[in-house]
Amino acid sequence: MKHLLSVTDLDAATATGLLDTADRLKQALLGREVRKLPTLRGRTVVTMFYENSTRTRVSFEIAGKWMSADTVNVSASGSSVSKGESLRDTSLTLSAMGADCVVVRHPASGSAHRMAAWADRAAVGGGGESTGTHTSIVNAGDGTHEHPTQALLDAATLRDRLGAIAGRRVAIVGDVLHSRVARSNVFLLATLGAEVVVVAPPTLLPVGIAQWPCRVSPSLDAELPALDAVMMLRVQAERMHGSFFPSSREYAVSYGLSQARAALLPDHAVVLHPGPMVRGMEIVPAVADGPASAVLAQVSNGVHVRMAVLYHLLAGAPE
């Protein structure tokens, strides 16, 4: 594995391998006084975030640090980006400084793909100057395209809680159209053998979703009793004004995870949310903080999954 750009780069064996590595790293750190493994000593990981983020950025940084990598954070504001530098130039600059891995979040779909193409070409000096470094690119969220490590940490959480992913039924609820989390999850969960159900108002369903490996359902209530997990998506504030649905109240009534709705879930079912949560609209506090919720487990699994990703990219997958 050279880059992690999309979950479609991962077949079931590779994805399972990453989850297994994450588990092993989690066990290795368990109960340790000094949470530090020497695995990536001397390697440099740069996080480059063109959008605001708390959990993803910190999660990658901690993952790098626990593996003894040197981690450097770059943000769009306060860097040469604010002077008008192009993504290509910033990306190649980081490569030329010797970044072994660049973790990127960017508002444009496909940015990580472009950076990988530039990095690969520049590593060998294809038609121009060489950076001298083979930089791996990790997509930490590109526009409305994908967020592969989120899907991996969701898979890790589901596997923990449900014992397995294959054969489990998972609903993804909300703004699928604009969600990179939904895209990564639908395809990764399907690759891992889950049965995926998507529930959303028709205005927030992507064109051609009938060709995705999932089923579309108009009714959350009808699905809840047979689910093993339900994943609530964030509704971005700007969507409220785009005529996608009449009001946040009506949205909450039809698609919000209220206590009454949560009660329809089987006892073993898990509630996931990628965060940040809009409490009240998508999910009520009693459910978000309740016993079925795995929201915080998602966050802690995120560190281990990202450690596994860095490990596989920079040190190679273990045999």
Partner: protein
């Protein structure tokens, strides 16, 4: 100065081989075994196909203001090498071609370069802003003799402004060329709204945004008694609207670009913005519909929408990249590949869609004429058998944003002749 040219062994419209004697820019004799008058220059036609010079209703030459991507000299060279003898330069320059001063400048620069007739297209509205009609009459009456107006790149979205422009144009014998895109339906759009863009997370440009504007404009032009030309149609559904309008006698014509005849949104998975264009590349079913409609005549012409962009505007993330692709030097080859080889068009048909109809629509009396005695000696001499490999860096345009990079295509333009003067020959511009 020698004003005689003997072109030997050419096959007009792919027919029997003849020689063509040109005197003072006009065909003086046409027949087998003509002798070269003393002092005449000669062009060995090599048994290739002779067509009337191509006319492109839709190019962006970027001058004034965008010279880092193209200028009138480099764009004219690309045109001549592509077999074109007349091009219509769109007004989205800086400053916008919305006054007589700018259109006259473009016309004059074209004449100074002298490789191809450069006809400036005037803006329909001031600054392409869609709000206030530009001085169509002044531009039409200027030395530039503007005959086509368009806000290309943007749609004249306001139905009242479009109606008034059509009505006003009807008295000037000019044509309004519409970039059909309802901007309310394409806000933030990055790619054809379909399965591919949806999976890639690229905001969709729905085909209905084109279809609805074309339907609306056909209704408007019918009332106004004017002439409407629809730029770069891209969707199968728009073809159905046009077919119905034409059957009802509406004065509407339409163009399709070479890239919408050949390329599909399947190319987008690399996110390489060389494939980004407006309207976007659509589905294979759409390209099939474009080809069939062009063969049938529902779509009148092929126009390139030649849109050079310097590397800094293209070698970026998808969303930041400017839409558009080079087209002048690859248009003929794409037409051979998509239309001639499958038997959808013969050489008469190619002459129709690349020369005769565009000259009619653009109101050019001396282009797209028959190959006959007394007619202008304005030709494209083409070798349909030869193949070539497209290399953006080797094209005459200043920019190199061709989507056909590395592709092997059939059909080579051997020579281009504009009123008896050879403008391009064997891949080199004749200056």
């Amino acid at each position: 100065m020698n004003t005689e040219l003997l072109i030997t062994d050419v096959r007009p419209y792919g027919g029997d081989a003849v020689d063509v004697l040109v005197r003072d820019g006009v065909v003086a004799e046409l027949g087998a075994g003509l002798d070269a008058p003393e002092g005449a220059s000669t062009l060995d036609g090599g048994g290739h196909v002779l067509l009337p010079g191509f006319v492109d209703l839709h190019v962006h030459l970027r001058e004034p203001g965008g010279e880092e991507s193209e200028d009138i000299a480099t764009g004219s060279a690309a045109a001549a090498l592509g077999g074109f003898t007349a091009v219509f330069a769109m007004p989205n320059t800086d400053p916008v071609a919305d006054t007589a001063v700018v259109v006259e400048h473009v016309r004059r620069r074209g004449e100074e370069v002298g490789l191809v007739d450069v006809h400036p297209v005037g803006a329909v509205t001031v600054g392409l802003e869609g709000a206030k009609m530009a001085e169509l009459g002044t531009m039409a009456g200027s030395r530039a003799q503007v005959r086509m107006f368009s806000d290309d790149g943007r749609c004249v979205n306001d139905p009242l402004i479009m109606r008034r422009a059509l009505e006003y144009a009807s008295a000037l014998d000019v044509v309004i060329a519409q970039h059909a895109e309802d901007h309310r339906l394409t806000g933030g759009a990055q790619a054809h709204e379909g399965v591919v863009a949806s999976r890639l997370g690229l905001a969709g440009w729905p085909a209905t945004a084109e279809e609805t504007i074309v339907a609306r404009d056909c209704a408007l032009v019918r009332e106004a008694g004017a002439a409407l030309h629809v730029c770069h149609i891209s969707s199968a559904r728009t073809v159905e609207v046009l077919r119905a309008a034409k059957a009802a006698g509406v004065r509407v014509s339409a163009e399709v670009t070479p890239h919408h005849l050949l390329l599909t949104d399947g190319r987008l998975t690399s996110y390489d913005p060389v494939n980004k264009v407006n309207p976007p590349l659509r589905t294979a079913a759409d390209t099939r519909a474009m080809r069939a409609a062009l063969a049938e005549g529902v779509i009148d012409v092929v126009a390139t929408d030649h849109a050079p962009h310097a590397a800094q505007y293209k070698d970026t993330e998808w969303q930041a990249a400017r839409p558009g692709m080079l087209g002048l030097q690859t248009a003929f080859s794409v037409v051979v590949h998509t239309m001639v080889e499958p038997g959808l068009l013969d050489w008469r048909g190619v002459a129709r869609v690349l020369s005769e109809r565009p000259a009619e629509i653009g109101r050019l009396p001396d282009q797209g004429r028959p190959i006959a005695v007394g007619e202008p000696a304005t030709f494209a001499l083409v070798d349909p058998e030869a193949q070539w490999t497209v290399r953006g860096a080797a094209l005459a345009s200043r920019a190199s944003n061709t989507p056909y990079e590395g592709m092997r295509l059939p059909g080579v333009v051997v020579a281009t002749v504009l009123r008896g003067t050879i403008t391009a020959r064997d891949g080199k511009v004749q200056t």
